[in-house]
């Protein structure tokens, strides 16, 4: 946040005018849903706003400087979002405590990343990059962890940066699109997906839980409370989870997979087999 001067950000009236117009237009358009098989993809104003904003970057309306000035608005906007989530959790504190075991244990769901993405990364030919890529969803604390341990220009560092960049650009949009689809297409309960929405990033959580609210407006309060509580938990435990479980497990699984493929190569009689 200290990177750009806030005074200049405040006075960037062009940026704010464009943002106000984007918000007004996209909210006035409202929400649409597209049926996909048994499920529904929800198109929400926030998704249009994202893509229109991104599109404007390539027009003369938005300069590189405007784009940089937008960053503090995101950071401080997320603080308002977290405050709103907090005041939604308060009145439901008993329900949150009752759901405590599920909230705590679903944090282990991050391991899904390792079991799903690590084999795919190795299959696609990534080597040690795959450790950086798949040990977590690569938000800032995790980038710090990997860079600290392996160095920025290590294969692991390149890997974590790849997922970091994807997440920065498309993480929120991607989670927003799949959360509504998965919640309507699978037999899992929307509140389970609400807990899953708390991945530790405010904008990603907002997009994922926002789609759930679009699909199940009658559950709005509960969805916000569960997603927000899970997000707070991810924020506070996520890094330690990565240090003590996620990263060691990824490295272990990686070395097991590598040993296996080496053995296969040896059996096949050389690298050509």
């Amino acid at each position: 946040m200290e990177k750009v001067e806030l005074k200049k950000v405040i006075k960037d009236w062009r940026l704010h005018a464009i943002a106000f117009i984007l918000v007004a237009i996209t909210e006035a358009i409202g929400q649409f849903s597209i049926a996909v098989g048994p499920g529904v993809i929800l198109l929400l104003p926030m998704l249009y706003a994202f893509f229109l904003g991104l599109g404007l970057y390539f027009t003369p309306f938005i300069s590189e400087k405007n784009a940089k000035n937008a960053e503090p608005l995101i950071i401080l906007g997320v603080t308002l979002l977290i405050a709103k989530i907090g005041v939604t959790i308060g009145p439901q504190i008993e329900a949150i405590i009752a759901a405590g075991p599920a909230l705590l244990l679903q944090e282990l769901g991050n391991l899904g990343t390792i079991f799903l993405a690590l084999p795919l990364a190795v299959l696609l030919g990534f080597r040690r990059e795959s450790i950086g890529m798949t040990h977590s969803i690569a938000r800032e604390p995790n980038v710090g962890l990997i860079v600290n341990k392996f160095g920025f220009s290590s294969p692991e560092g390149r890997g974590v940066m790849a997922v970091y960049i994807f997440g920065t650009v498309f993480g929120a949009v991607f989670l927003g699109l799949i959360s509504g689809l998965l919640a309507t297409a699978t037999p899992l309960h929307p509140l389970s997906f609400a807990m899953a929405s708390g991945v530790g990033s405010g904008s990603m959580m907002a997009a994922a839980s926002g789609s759930l609210i679009g699909a199940y407006p009658e559950l709005e309060e509960q969805i916000v409370a569960f997603a927000g509580a899970s997000n707070l938990l991810s924020l506070s435990t996520g890094l330690y989870f990565s240090i003590f479980i996620g990263l060691p497990l990824t490295e272990k699984l990686y070395s097991i997979m590598m040993r296996r493929s080496e053995r296969k190569l040896a059996k096949g009689g050389g690298p050509d087999a």
Partner: protein, 150 residues
């Protein structure tokens, strides 16, 4: 500190206006009905940002903000019924839309890096996000069902 607080207040106020516009156009809540709630949210955010600067712990501002907001809205805490009633005028999506509008404008500058990623990295990154989302949902489902909550 004071300079920071004033600047934070301005940025929060600008963002708040964007959210009030969205709340108005999207949820049909007139801005003046939502202003008290927005002021509460801005006050909580400011308090959290100040605590982060003032206290020696390594907790990020959003941690303080989350805890503070929960505390002032707990049943039985004096004034909490006002906090809840006022802030209920602001939809969560009305806050999400301006965040993503500014995010869209801002990530344009990451576009060059993004294009360099390549298809394989793209596939792995998608499976990273899908994996954690589905993994958490599956575990939550099992436990919530077992507890009889859903």
């Amino acid at each position: 500190m004071l300079k920071s607080v004033i600047e934070w207040t301005w940025v929060l106020a600008i963002f708040g206006i964007a959210a009030l516009i969205g709340n108005w156009f999207g949820m049909d809540v007139l801005p003046w009905q939502a202003i008290p709630g927005m002021l509460v949210l801005i006050a909580v955010s400011l308090a959290g940002l100040m605590l982060e600067k003032a206290l020696p712990f390594s907790m990020p501002a959003v941690g303080y903000i989350g805890i503070l907001a929960i505390l002032i809205s707990l049943p039985g805490v004096p004034g909490s019924e006002y906090v809840v009633a006022w802030t209920s005028q602001i939809g969560i999506l009305a806050l999400a839309t301006p965040i993503l509008a500014y995010a869209g404008i801002s990530v344009g500058s990451n576009w060059a890096d993004f294009r360099k990623l390549g298809f394989r990295s793209f596939l792995v990154a998608i499976s990273v996000f899908l994996g954690t989302f589905l993994g958490s949902a599956l575990i939550a489902e099992v436990i919530l069902r077992w507890q009889g909550i859903i």
